[in-house]
Symmetry: C2
Subunit: 287 residues, 2 copies
């Protein structure tokens, strides 16, 4: 296990926000992530549950923790937050920096099988395996109580993680998620590059496909979608396809989909619904 | 009155965050600011009170509104926020971009009297006069109910505005403010450049001096200071000088100074105490 290097640390809401970097064996580059640890965990009184947040296209590990407005609620609920980056960075893959929808900032939480991406673009395994092990080994957390959420591409990532790992995540939620990536241009473009031309390979990373087939323990899912979201209007997100899939599988996927009138795709929307999402996860992480 | 140009607008906490730009007669360049308008103001049900926030060195109009975590509380208390930039930008003043402590991002909320700054670096008058008139004329607000707060250099600016304009502001608060700029290197450096070498001219922008002499109606003041703040430790802030000044003038300056153990100078500290500051102002704006 590579050593964690503390980049910065600040007290916040009685706990601490810390940024770490480490050499990743999975992505073969240096990865950076933020954590928030509530006071009771720092004081050694309790191993706290973990909520992981996955960011969207062009974001990094900072967007949510600086702009998401989550920390007062995480502090109050005594839940740790882990916020990773959205892709390898500086991995030296040809073409990774030329297009905001591909490569840097656009890892899409898949394990690439295609050249030139496959050596580094392994964000599914990075988040699901390496990062979680690192967190469990390094911080006063209870890794058996973990939930995941995310925004846009990160909402897709969160749904895929939870639906592919039955019983691991206590709850999953998503803000304006990409719900049908194998059928929308956000998704098809990246899946073709990372996973190759065969749509069969794409289904393993398509939340709607996964929700139809999911047969694990009942999974609580909360999704919020702004009605004025330019990407929703542009049909990149397709939340109603996820609703239909959940309705076809109601004993396993317990979806609460909420339309939020007038909200766009930005972090102004994210912070508006943040308290609800933290409380939703708290209900499952601290039943 | 120059026309306001709407740059962007997003729904947030039932209200709206909007960015505007306008040609400023005071600073002789294009100025940009953010506002938050709560839902009841947008719906025309009520003219709401105004809280103005002044940012610190290197900041612009975005820092607080994106990272300060204020909006849920402003929405709940039905208070509008106005967040201006910290200096003229692109005014074409020689040397304005070479030093983060002077010029762009470092207007210090003074009216410069010295060359080359005096044509544009008029941030005191910009904030106190032009911007407030623009806000009163353009938005569904009650300009007679106004308070001001700020961080670091902006905390200095907020204290100076309130102490120089007795009876105008219902309350003032500051987070890690520069309290004694005429005696600390943050302050002396800028005052010498903007106001000239005579320390007499500096007293008009020194919150501690102003607090000693203030004879207006009792002014409620809340100040929070982190004990691990590198600039507090480095003696750039000098909050105890402000405490002593307020104690010498207790019938006029009603100061609550709170030390916050372990907090640094960052926006992690700002967002931690934000709810308290909004509630403090709400008590005076909506008695």
């Amino acid at each position: 296990m590579a050593a964690l290097e503390l980049v910065s640390s600040s007290r916040c809401f009685d706990g601490e926000v810390r940024k770490y970097r480490h050499a990743s064996a999975t992505t073969r580059c240096t990865m950076t992530f933020n954590v928030f640890l509530p006071e009771c965990a720092l004081a050694g009184r309790e191993k706290v549950p973990v909520l992981m947040y996955l960011s969207g296209l062009t974001c990094n590990e900072d967007n949510m923790i600086t702009k998401g407005g989550a920390l007062p609620y995480l502090s109050r609920q005594r839940i740790a937050l882990v916020a990773p980056d959205t892709s390898p960075r500086g991995a030296g893959v040809e073409g990774e920096d030329g297009d905001w929808e591909l490569g840097t900032g656009a890892g899409f939480y898949v394990d690439a099988t295609q050249e030139p991406w496959r050596a580094s673009y392994q964000m599914y395994s990075y988040v699901q395996c390496e990062l979680q092990k690192l967190v469990a080994d390094s911080f006063p957390v209870d890794p058996l109580r973990i939930s995941v959420f995310g925004h846009s591409m990160g909402g897709h990532g969160a749904l895929v993680l939870a639906l592919r790992n039955p019983g691991q995540y206590r709850s999953v939620s998503a803000l304006a998620p990409i719900c049908r990536p194998s059928k929308t241009s956000w998704g098809q473009k990246q899946f073709r590059a990372y996973l190759g031309p065969d749509p069969e390979a794409w289904a393993a990373y398509d939340a709607t496909e996964l929700a139809k087939r999911y047969s694990g323990p009942p999974l609580p899912v909360l999704v919020d979608q702004g009605s004025s979201d330019e990407f929703y209007i542009g049909k990149q997100l397709q939340p109603l396809e996820l609703v239909a899939a959940a309705e076809s599988n109601p004993r396993h996927v317990v979806l609460d989909m909420r339309m939020q009138p007038g909200y766009d795709h930005s972090y102004w929307f994210v912070q508006t619904v943040m308290e609800d999402h933290i409380l939703f996860h708290a209900k499952h992480l601290r039943p």
